[in-house]
Amino acid sequence: MANTNKSVISALYNDDDVMLKSIKPLRENGFKIREAYTPFPIHGLDHELGLARTRIAITAFIYGALGLSVAIALTYYTMIIDWPQNIGGKPSFSFGQNVPAFVPIMFELTVFFAAHLMVWTYFVRNGMYPGRKAMNPDPRTTDDMFMLEIEYDGDDSELRSLLKDTGAVEINIVDQSTDEPSDSEEEVLEETV
């Protein structure tokens, strides 16, 4: 583990605006928000959390360019080099003169590559695959609850009072099963809830 003395608390909110407003005071007080789980995309959440812009659209452009190249190579090789044919008195000996007929193929393959490879990239970057265990720790976060996971050091009383002030309806210690000492720590902390 990168940081064993960091503990994590999860705060549940029952309203998206309340959760969104609570992020700023938390971050200003030096707490790091590790993750947010929400049932739907919340406008401005990525900005509040300080997430970088996603570059997935750039990958789509690159994949599209790849698709276009594949289409050019395919039509050029099959129709001009490998087996040029004289179709309806219009011989296909030059790519330049035949390229208008290949535009639909080029367009379709550009879209095909851009769309499919981007979606594959999306799955890979998100770590999503069929049958993966649910990534949200609380099943209510796909219904109507909004969860923040916040890291803290040592004493959690400051964080707890801050969370209560910002409108959190439920506060739990996250059991980090990979962290060995968290067991004893958790018991102590749970008495203070």
Binding site: T38, L51, P104, V119, R125, P130, D143, D144
Partner: protein, 463 residues
């Protein structure tokens, strides 16, 4: 923050909370099906099985079982193909084009409209497949050397463009639909009580947890896919129209075909969305989400695209006369006054005349009337393709080979079979998939939900 002008009607009626949306969307899956669902499924299944029988008979015996002849060598098969592809277009238009235009009313209908797209394209793809005759040689359409020697497919041919267009369209629509479905499958997974159900939705939801970064990527992917799907959907019917427009048959060889086909596709697709959603909202009590306003919006689109189609018909007639080409002139005269006059005038009545009723607010907000018009439009659009295809072919350049076309029971059986198959797929979808994009819909609850809009107005009154 969630402000929307009070002039706009609420898109979600009833006092809904986020949890209510979850419950309402999950209800058709978690409860037993209404009797009407079983009746509809049984009828569709019978029609589907009848179609399977006719398809097997065609494959086993040959295309001779159809009503085609030497003169009319394309008829119901290609009519049905174009009809089904066209119906599919509305789904992509709703989910992609209306997303780019930020039309919020798309959110409660886009899931089902996209499902309709996918199921309609499945039906469409069946027809060229079986029309090949030897369907086991279907791999000939892929860019691999024929018989694995050295002869390739012909990239000059619009029929091959069609293969690429339809397969790209189908697969891209499918992933677009699925990317949007994942968060909703996750919602069903987290609610499921029965282990089998939980397991299935767990596999389908890919482990989705609604992390902030994942939502950020989700929105970007949706936007880019919408941007890609928009020109794609226009390209598909453009290329379908080129199957005809690049030929030298009078009545086909016209440059107006691509925009005219695309408008017709959207027209018929929205009509099919109306047919399906009016049944669905009643069967599964979705009236709070698919409101009269949604139906009215779609009726306006039907009216506009129907009028575009009407202008295209008239332009075609004018151009036939203005071109001075004798064959072209005859083809159109023959359509309107020849032996297939009834098909032409059915098309004109259903497609040009009937949508004009939508100018009246009373009519376009009437559910019963909308339902009737939606079926009339689809009958009309089927006739449009029949008129274009059969009336252009049946009297060609050589009068000695002029003939008529009459479908055999196999032609009719396959067509009815695809309608059955389509409804089987849609009915099964409606009971096992989240029929409304609930995650997306929750984003507009606070701005467009009825109870929240009332609160906004009260707030506004205070100041």
């Amino acid at each position: 923050m969630h402000y929307e002008s009070p002039v706009r009607e609420p898109l979600i009626t009833g006092d809904k909370s986020y949890h209510d949306i979850t419950v309402d969307v999950a209800k058709p899956i978690e409860t037993n099906a209404p009797r009407s669902w079983w009746i509809a499924l049984s009828i569709s299944l019978i029609a589907f099985l009848w179609g399977v029988g006719c398809i097997l008979y065609t494959i086993g015996t040959g295309i001779g079982t159809w009503g085609l002849n030497r003169t009319v060598n394309w008829a119901w098969d290609i009519t049905n193909f174009v009809w089904w592809v066209g119906i599919g277009h509305a789904g992509t238009l709703i989910s992609a084009v209306l997303l780019l235009f930020r039309q919020k009313w798309r959110m409660s209908i886009n899931r089902s409209a996209e499902a309709m797209t996918i199921f309609a394209v499945v039906q469409a793809a069946l027809f060229p497949g079986i029309h090949m005759g030897r369907i086991w040689l279907a791999y000939f359409v892929f860019p691999i050397p024929n018989q694995f020697g050295s002869l390739w497919v012909n990239f000059n041919s619009p029929l091959l463009w069609d293969v690429f267009a339809i397969s790209t369209y189908f697969s891209v629509s499918l992933v677009f639909w699925y990317v949007g479905l994942i968060p909703d499958f996750a919602m069903l997974r987290d609610r499921a009580i029965r282990p089998v159900q939980k397991h299935i939705y767990s596999i389908l939801s890919f482990g989705w947890g609604g992390k902030a970064k994942h939502w950020q990527r989700f929105e970007e992917v949706s936007l880019v896919l919408a941007g890609l799907a928009t020109p794609l959907v226009l390209s598909v019917h453009t290329i379908v129209s080129m199957d005809f427009a690049t030929s030298v048959i009078p009545g086909w060889h016209t440059t107006i075909f691509p925009p005219y086909f695309v408008a017709g596709a959207i027209f018929s697709g929205f009509a099919m969305v109306q047919t399906l959603l009016i049944i669905m909202r009643k069967m599964f009590k979705m009236e709070d989400y698919i409101t009269i306003q949604h139906i009215e919006m779609m009726n306006i689109i039907i009216m506009v695209t129907g009028s575009i189609v009407g202008i295209a018909y008239i332009t075609e007639l004018f151009m036939a006369w203005y071109s001075g080409v004798e064959y072209e002139q005859y083809a159109f005269l023959n359509r309107a006054t020849g032996p297939y006059w009834w098909a032409y005038w059915s098309m004109m009545t259903c497609n040009v005349f009937s949508p004009q009723f939508m100018w009246f607010k009373k009519l376009r907000t009437s559910i019963m009337f909308t339902f009737i018009i939606s079926i009339v439009v689809n009958i009309g659009m089927w006739f449009e393709r029949f008129v274009i295809i059969v009336t252009s072919l049946h009297r060609d350049y050589l009068p000695s080979s002029w003939t008529m076309f009459s479908p055999s029971f196999v032609d009719i059986g396959i067509f009815i079979g695809t309608i059955g198959f389509f409804f089987v797929l849609f009915l099964l979808y409606a009971r096992s998939f989240p029929v409304i994009a609930q995650a997306e819909l929750k984003t507009i609850l606070k701005s467009s939900g009825e109870n929240y809009k009332k609160l906004q107005e009260q707030d506004h009154g205070k100041h």
